[in-house]
């Protein structure tokens, strides 16, 4: 199949970016979207042009590295999938495909389709852990967790930290990401000792990083490749208010 690619090109953080258009022959339906970009890059290399820099690693939807906005949608047209899990069978031959980086104030573009997502790590380091030290602990079965709670904890913990929720949100909010971690640890007894501190610090860190506020639009949950629901944002707010009202935090 032949596709026309309208790709965002930007040399670095301080340069102006712009769209460039390329026509690519030789893509096939069973190719993944990123393999199609690989093909484009081989083509550009042979023509002596600078390849399109994009991020990817595991190429099986779990590492959270890949991050393209495809035709206006974070991670492209497939629900519950990352960019690397999109296949060319989702597009028509002759179609023009627009490819952009994540767009959000807290995610500066660093080159072409790459953005700086280190703010998400800083949100985690401000409280996204149980606090248990490394070493011997009581037997794992000495603290029971009901199956429904364990399942919910897993649903929330499935977040891959890709930042699609931020990219999809008109406010550039990281509430789905932050709420998922707070809610995961809130479902487990191990998460309770630091809960107030965690809820407060993580939310405040999110603000500090320049992410916007949540106004319940819900784009985040549509874009989330792991289909995490906005319930986690409600839980985050509940726990934040609780923490703010208790003096210990």
């Amino acid at each position: 199949m032949q596709v026309n690619l309208k790709v965002w090109r930007q040399l670095d953080r301080n340069s102006e970016g712009k769209f460039e258009t390329y026509t690519l022959d030789g893509a096939s339906e069973n190719m993944s979207f990123l393999e199609m970009l690989d093909l484009l890059n081989e083509d550009l290399t042979k023509r002596g042009q600078r390849p399109v820099e994009f991020e990817s690693d595991c190429r099986e939807g779990i590492c959270g590295t890949c991050s393209c906005v495809v035709n206006g949608q974070a991670h492209g047209p497939v629900r519950g999938a990352t960019t690397c899990q999109v296949y060319m069978r989702s597009f028509k031959s002759g179609e023009t495909i627009t490819i952009e980086p994540w767009r959000a104030g807290a995610f500066p573009v660093i080159r072409d389709l790459m953005v700086d997502r280190s703010a998400l790590d800083r949100i985690i380091s401000s409280g996204g852990y149980t606090g248990a030290k490394v070493g011997p602990h009581p037997d794992a079965n000495s603290m029971l967790v009901s199956k429904p709670d364990a399942e919910l904890a897993m649903d929330y913990a499935a977040c891959i930290g890709c930042g699609a929720c931020v990219a999809a949100c008109p406010n550039g909010s990281a509430s789905l990401f932050t709420g998922a971690k707070i809610s995961h640890l809130a479902k487990l007894p191990q998460g309770l000792p630091l809960q107030n501190l965690r809820s407060k610090r993580m939310v405040e860190q999110m603000d500090k990083e320049g992410f916007g506020h949540c106004t319940n639009i819900g784009e985040c949950q549509s874009a989330c490749p792991k289909e995490i629901k906005i319930d986690v944002i409600a839980e985050m707010r509940r726990l934040y208010v609780k923490a703010a009202l208790t003096s210990e935090a």
Binding site: R89, A158, L188
Partner: protein, 645 residues
């Protein structure tokens, strides 16, 4: 370099007392002195994150480096199936001894007993640690943890978190490390690729890294260096490994004096989604937990291979694993399952367009347990398969084929996980230690976390307590030399780019991968290995005569430069793997030498000649590498010919 002798430094005494004895006899660093020591950790997968967390909590200053934009992206994240631990929660007769025994046997008697016993011993603490860190393992309605059985064992000792066990364990370790980042104990350096090791007075004291974004080179110093940079499966180009996974850190350490142990021991995983075309950039693994309920088959007759599977009658199907290995059936170890799949495809009975696939069929399991149970157990894997192949595995059997997945070989380490360069520790998949010639399913996660959480905090202390660390900085000759050699190497590769050449770096890389898969893959022969070595040498010549490389105008910033530097190292490593495979004229575990098989076509080990670890020393040129042998002594598990019949 003076002649080095291999000393595994295994503590004396019965195997079950060795680790306790080590811990009670090791030297300790005074708590007040710990913060005076800095340790560099390279890599943030299970081994690296857990090591950074535990060393920092122990009181050392930790400088952690990762190649990704975030430490959470490391490839441990992709492990699906589970993690073994000898908890015996299922009351089915499991024990530390049995896990030890299964691992030594599964590794086909090519691992070190003392290390494996310790691994089994600390396995239970890993589960307690991970639960304390908030890992949401699967649970029963009673609230207790669930277990399942996994390839190669007859007890249920595998803990899991849906099909995302690696992800959850990694996030647990990452979060534990990030707590230390918050408290200042760990200093994190992201998007840094290690390009050289700095050795001062014979000790590992620092590293040279390149910022993958800016191309800037920098040097970093410490009293010890921990490499937890994973395996080298990407030498095959197509593998289940992630794109950033590469061998450069271990290879550069090897060139600086760390011996390479058993490079030819690679694991080919039986349940991957088959290759669909030349464009393919990587292979996707599906957890072998699928083999618990799926049945592997091909048509009995070649003529049926192209027929739709649902039109092939029950009597015309060959459930070849169940037929040949009645007691283990579909749960035989990975190497056995992979080789048998290759064999039936070689016979022309392979299915799918390429003929390079076998069926993994859930029809019977769905009929027995219902679709909803199967969906709960494997939903995400079925979904993934459907997305990639456009076929619904609830309706049609999956097509699977083996793919390179894990490398048992790695830098040689002693009992304390230290390489032949003093002060250079190697953890997780990057070392050679615990899995012998074949790794059992759900044991990689166990080893990574055992090394990082429960071994290195002790053995590091024993090393540092010995003292003798003069201050080192960038003005030291060794540092200047290392930095200069990295600069020289980068400009040499940039020159190759200017020379042009017919091929892109990726094209050379793909050719290397194909050569490795064809001749150093599932089945190896003297003739094939020699051919591989020849082909690799000519690929190297081609590489050095010029490649197509495009930069961003500014020479230092280019992903194709990054790939070129890795390919240069992979070419060397590929040749060493072929040399090692050639030297080991026996079949064992994942290493199948066609010249060494039983009358029934099973792998035939040769304990008389090859009951040793092959540790290669670099001597300026790969082809001149010198082989050292560490003899393996089995005092507890008597080597027998593996049989899964």
């Amino acid at each position: 370099m003076s002649e080095k002798k291999l000393d595994a430094k295994i503590p004396s005494g019965p195997v079950e007392q060795k680790w306790s004895r080590y811990k009670s006899e090791m030297k300790l660093v005074n708590p007040a002195n710990k913060r005076k020591h800095t340790v560099i950790v390279v890599g943030t997968g299970l081994a690296g994150s857990s090591a950074s967390a535990s060393l920092s909590e122990a009181g050392y200053q930790v400088e952690t480096f990762c190649i990704h934009d975030s430490p959470r992206r490391a490839h441990s994240i992709a492990a699906q199936g589970g993690i073994n631990a000898a908890k015996n929660y299922m009351n089915d007769g499991d024990s530390v001894y049995r896990l030890f025994y299964d691992t030594v046997k599964g590794g086909d008697y090519r691992s070190r007993e003392a290390n494996v016993y310790r691994l089994a011993e600390v396995s239970t603490a890993i589960i307690d640690q991970s639960v304390a860190a908030g890992v949401p393992f699967a649970r029963e309605y009673s609230g207790e943890l669930s277990n399942r059985s996994f390839g190669g064992t007859q007890v249920s000792r595998t803990f899991y978190a849906r099909g995302q066990t690696g992800q959850q364990l990694l996030l647990g370790a990452y979060q534990t490390m990030m707590k230390q980042v918050d408290s200042g104990g760990v200093k994190l350096h992201t998007r840094k690729e290690m390009l050289d090791l700095i050795v001062v007075d014979g000790k590992a004291r620092g590293i040279v890294v390149r910022d993958v974004l800016t191309g800037e080179l920098s040097t970093h110093f410490a009293d010890a260096v921990v490499l937890a940079t994973g395996g080298y499966g990407r030498v095959f180009f197509l593998s289940t490994n992630a794109f950033q996974s590469n061998c450069t850190a271990v290879w550069r350490a090897h060139k600086r004096g760390a011996f390479f142990g058993n490079p030819c021991f690679t694991q080919i995983h039986p349940t991957c989604i088959p290759v669909s075309g030349d464009h393919q950039s990587k292979l996707t693994l599906m957890s072998e937990s699928l083999r618990n309920d799926g049945r592997v088959w091909v048509p009995k007759r070649k003529e049926d291979a192209k027929k739709p599977p649902n039109e092939i009658a029950e009597a015309d199907r060959d459930y070849f694993l169940e037929r040949k290995y009645p007691s283990f059936g579909n749960l035989v170890p990975r190497d056995v399952a992979s080789r048998n799949a290759k064999e039936v495809c070689d016979e022309g009975r392979g299915v799918g367009d390429s003929g390079l696939a076998v069926y993994l069929d859930f029809r019977d399991a769905i009929a027995r347990m219902g679709e909803s149970v199967i969906r709960e157990k494997y939903g995400n894997l079925f979904h993934m398969y459907h997305e990639i192949t456009n076929e619904d595995p609830y309706q049609l059997p999956m097509r699977i084929f083996p793919a390179v997945h894990y490398t048992m070989g790695g830098l040689w380490v002693d009992y304390g996980l230290m390489s032949t360069v003093p002060g250079l520790f190697v953890l997780g998949e990057a070392n050679f230690s615990d899995h012998g010639a074949n790794r059992l399913g759900a044991s990689a996660l166990m080893q990574g976390l055992a090394d990082g959480y429960f071994v290195i905090p002790y053995t590091m202390g024993d090393y540092l307590a010995k003292g003798g660390f003069k201050p080192v900085d960038e003005t030291h000759e060794a540092s200047k030399e290392a930095l200069a050699s990295v600069k020289k190497r980068i400009s040499k590769v940039m020159e190759l780019g200017k020379k042009g050449g017919k091929k892109t770096v990726m094209e050379i890389y793909r050719s290397l991968g194909k050569t490795m898969w064809d001749y150093v893959g599932m089945s190896r022969s003297e003739k094939g290995l020699k051919k591989a070595m020849q082909t690799i040498r000519s690929l190297r010549e081609e590489f050095y005569s010029g490649v197509q490389l495009v930069t961003a105008g500014d020479e230092s910033r280019s992903t194709s430069l990054e790939v070129a530097l890795r390919v240069e190292d992979l070419l060397d490593l590929g040749e060493l793997m072929a040399m090692d495979a050639l030297e080991r004229a026996e079949s064992c575990g994942g290493h199948f030498r066609e010249e060494s098989q039983t009358d029934e076509g099973e792998a035939k080990r040769d304990d008389e000649k090859f009951s040793h670890v092959s540790a290669w020393e670099f001597k300026g040129d790969v082809s001149k590498s010198v082989l050292h042998k560490e003899d393996l002594v089995f005092e507890n598990v008597k080597p027998t010919q593996r049989s899964y019949k």
